[in-house]
């Protein structure tokens, strides 16, 4: 059984929480005590039916105000797959939460209210899916029960979305008509929409092909920690621990260590289950090398003819998450793979309106939840790839050095 991580984004009234509740309920992932809890709360609030949306609101303020504030993680499994849902609020003020949820997702679900069609929020979600390079997108056209299960309504929305998505960089889009309230097409195929020949939402989630999403070509091993046992039994042991960020590594492989560029050879790979001949992303392993070269946390092991770029000048898109604005000339901490450094923002080229995709070239600052293109200069070289090639070696965070808050998510678009 494999693992699919997906994110949902949506607002209070487009039925997102109900959809998740429906997926959990119909796949029998809601437990009886949770259901009783929901029924009690629903009755106490005067609701006429068991409000599945209450299931996803974890914090007191969320339950009281009927809103989702933060990313909530949900888990369910079918015989085919285990699923991790990052459930995020959809309003523009929560863009940073959506970005957070999307960063680790294989797939994203955008909900569209069939009565309203594409709205600003749907376009924004699609843009963020493209920006974060989530490999698969599902557009769930919800509340089909309220438009008499109309094929015309559905087709119009599908066409409008396709036209918009053509401007973006999204690899795989599926559009599915559903009713989260009645459950049509969520877990089982709809009996109300004979004209729809595609799979139900859950069937799609269970079968979407994710094996080829990982980059298994470019071997990247950011060194996380050096293991040197201080014991007589393992006196000469020196292993480099980390999680493979891309590609496949084999015992006997010629490798280079960045940033020094020193060549050496892999002599052993210790996986969690014991020694292996080869290992691949995203395994956590310990690699041992032939030569006693100087390697520390933040260095990277690559193949000689396929190396990450070593550079102090980085072009990136960033999503600003700080409460106070960012301007050119400011300095931050940066965490990229296992490497930490400081950066200077050399240029803010433009702020991108994430609703219209308009580039505001004159922007002097980036405010909370705004996205823009920047040039950064780092104190030490980063060992990086462009984000579209590898999300783990192309993504970074910026940290405010006074408050220690995480203030930006960055996606490398070019390295000089």
């Amino acid at each position: 059984m494999d693992l699919l991580r997906f994110a949902t984004a949506g607002s209070v009234d487009d039925g997102k929480s109900t959809l998740i509740g429906r997926l959990l309920f119909d796949s029998k992932s809601i437990f009886t005590d949770q259901l009783e809890d929901l029924e009690r709360t629903s009755v106490a609030r005067g609701s006429e039916y068991t409000d599945l949306a209450l299931l996803t609101d974890g914090l007191r303020a969320e339950r009281e105000q009927g809103i989702t504030i933060d990313v909530a993680y949900r888990y369910f499994a079918t015989p085919r797959r285990k699923f991790i849902i990052a459930d995020t609020p959809g309003h523009i003020q929560y863009t940073r939460n959506m970005v957070t949820g999307a960063s680790t997702s294989d797939l994203s679900i955008i909900l569209i209210d069939a009565r309203k069609g594409l709205v600003e929020q749907s376009r924004r979600h699609a843009f963020l899916v493209s920006l974060l390079q989530v490999p698969h997108l599902v557009v769930a056209v919800n509340k089909m029960d309220l438009v008499d299960w109309s094929q015309e309504v559905f087709e119009a929305i599908r066409e409008e979305f396709s036209n918009y998505a053509a401007k973006l960089n999204i690899a795989d889009v599926s559009v599915i008509p559903v009713s989260a309230l009645t459950g049509e097409n969520v877990v089982t195929r709809s009996t109300q929409m004979d004209w729809y020949e595609g799979p139900s939402l859950l069937h799609h989630l269970e079968n979407v092909h994710i094996a080829s999403d990982r980059n298994l070509v470019d071997m990247r091993f950011p060194v996380q920690y050096v293991i040197r046992p201080q014991s007589a039994a393992h006196h000469d042991y020196r292993g480099y621990a980390g999680q493979i960020a891309g590609g496949v590594v084999k015992v006997g492989d010629d490798v280079v260590v960045l940033p020094s560029g020193l060549p050496t050879k892999v002599t052993a790979i210790d996986a969690p289950g014991g020694p292996v001949e080869e290992a691949y992303a995203p395994m956590s392993v310990v690699i041992r090398l032939e030569d006693d070269v100087d390697i520390s946390r933040g260095d990277m092991i690559c193949r000689p003819h396929n190396q990450a770029i070593v550079s102090q000048d980085v072009e990136a898109m960033i999503c600003w998450m700080g409460d106070s604005p960012m301007r050119a000339g400011m300095k931050f901490g940066i965490k990229h793979t296992t490497r930490s450094a400081r950066v200077l923002v050399k240029d803010l080229y433009y702020e991108m309106n994430i609703n219209t995709l308009h580039r505001n070239q004159g922007a002097a600052e980036l405010n909370l939840n705004e996205v823009g293109r920047v040039r950064l200069r780092t104190t030490v070289p980063l060992l990086a790839d462009e984000y579209h090639r590898n999300r783990l070696t192309g993504g970074f965070i910026l940290i405010d050095e006074t408050t220690n808050a995480t203030v930006a998510a960055g996606m490398i678009v070019g390295v000089q």
């Binding site: 437990f31 888990y75 201080q230």
Partner: protein, 305 residues
């Protein structure tokens, strides 16, 4: 499963969770100078310790383990705890709630539960030993407030959690920076479910206290739950006792952790039972979470794990 047996280069979900947890534990040690790991002897902490040992093998564990001892223990669990740390040569730090009560630092609650008052003891123990990171075995699937918690969860000088002001957590880039006096709670098992834990225990043959497996025990019924008769958990007059085949799904304070009827005598039985169960583990066995809708959220804000 090893890579060479898997020509498609696909990790099973259990192996993916294992690699993620090992990465998280290593990240704590790489970024924070004085970490410690909570180890109660319960199943989640046993799995977490197993992963930690793998993360640094063949070196020794580079941090101590901590147990906040409420004094309301199951003997089998304390025996297991002590045997594990001795067998593996791990340093154990114990924070005693009983001693804190005796010193007048905390007061016994009227209902006799020591769940809430273990929090100040945890904070004092961390402070005394100057731990700036504490790893815990809590999982997001356990409870609705926990579903909102980060893997690296920032705590202020008072050990408090502010659910509305959490650091965004992107990719696998955990921000571990803190000022002096602040701490980080880390949850390597965030993405595991109860069934994952049991499946992993089966895959890895992780040792556990015997009370997790079905056995005969003298019990009584209270609030629809079965409580074992115990030094700290006595039946009231209208609560007749009887012998039942039970096991524990969770192990907490012995005065309020309930058993469940079960014929799961071995790990295969348990995995099958957990896969089929229709009640959450906390719902089935914890008196403390039944106080209110937000009982866990309130305790977490105070510094509870």
């Amino acid at each position: 499963m090893t890579a060479s047996e898997n020509p498609s280069y696909r990790l099973s979900q259990l192996d993916a969770l294992e690699s993620e947890a090992i990465f998280i534990i290593r990240e704590v040690v790489a970024e924070l100078e004085r970490p410690a790991m909570l180890f109660s002897g319960g199943k989640d902490s046993a799995v977490m310790l197993h992963l930690a040992l793998k993360a640094f093998a063949p070196a020794n564990l580079p941090f101590p383990v901590v147990h906040i001892d409420t004094g309301h223990n199951f003997d089998e669990v304390i025996e297991f705890r002590d045997a594990e740390v001795t067998r593996r040569g791990i340093r154990l730090v114990v924070g005693s709630v009983q001693e804190a009560i005796d010193r007048g630092e905390v007061a016994e609650e009227r209902n006799g539960s020591r769940n809430r008052i273990q929090t100040p003891v945890l904070l004092a123990t961390a402070e005394k030993h100057d731990f700036n990171a504490l790893m815990g075995g809590a999982r997001r699937d356990e409870e609705k407030a926990r579903a909102k918690e980060r893997v690296f969860s920032f705590r202020d000088d008072f050990g408090q959690w502010d659910p509305k002001n959490q650091r965004p957590e992107l990719w696998n880039l955990y921000n571990a920076r803190i000022h002096h006096g602040e701490t980080i709670r880390v949850f390597p098992l965030s993405n595991w479910t109860e069934l994952d834990i049991w499946s992993y225990i089966r895959q890895e043959k992780v040792a556990l206290p015997s009370i997790y497996y079905a056995h005969e025990r003298e019990v009584f019924e209270r609030n629809g739950m079965l409580f074992g008769v115990h030094e700290f958990c006595q039946p009231r007059e209208n609560e007749p006792t009887f012998t039942e085949t039970v096991r524990y799904r969770t192990v907490g304070d012995a005065s309020l952790t309930a058993a469940v009827r079960s014929n799961a005598f071995d790990i295969d039985d348990i995995v099958a039972e957990v896969a089929a169960t229709r009640v959450t583990e906390r719902g089935a066995t914890r008196g403390d979470d039944r106080v209110s809708e937000a009982a866990m959220e309130d305790r977490k804000k105070e510094g509870y794990f």
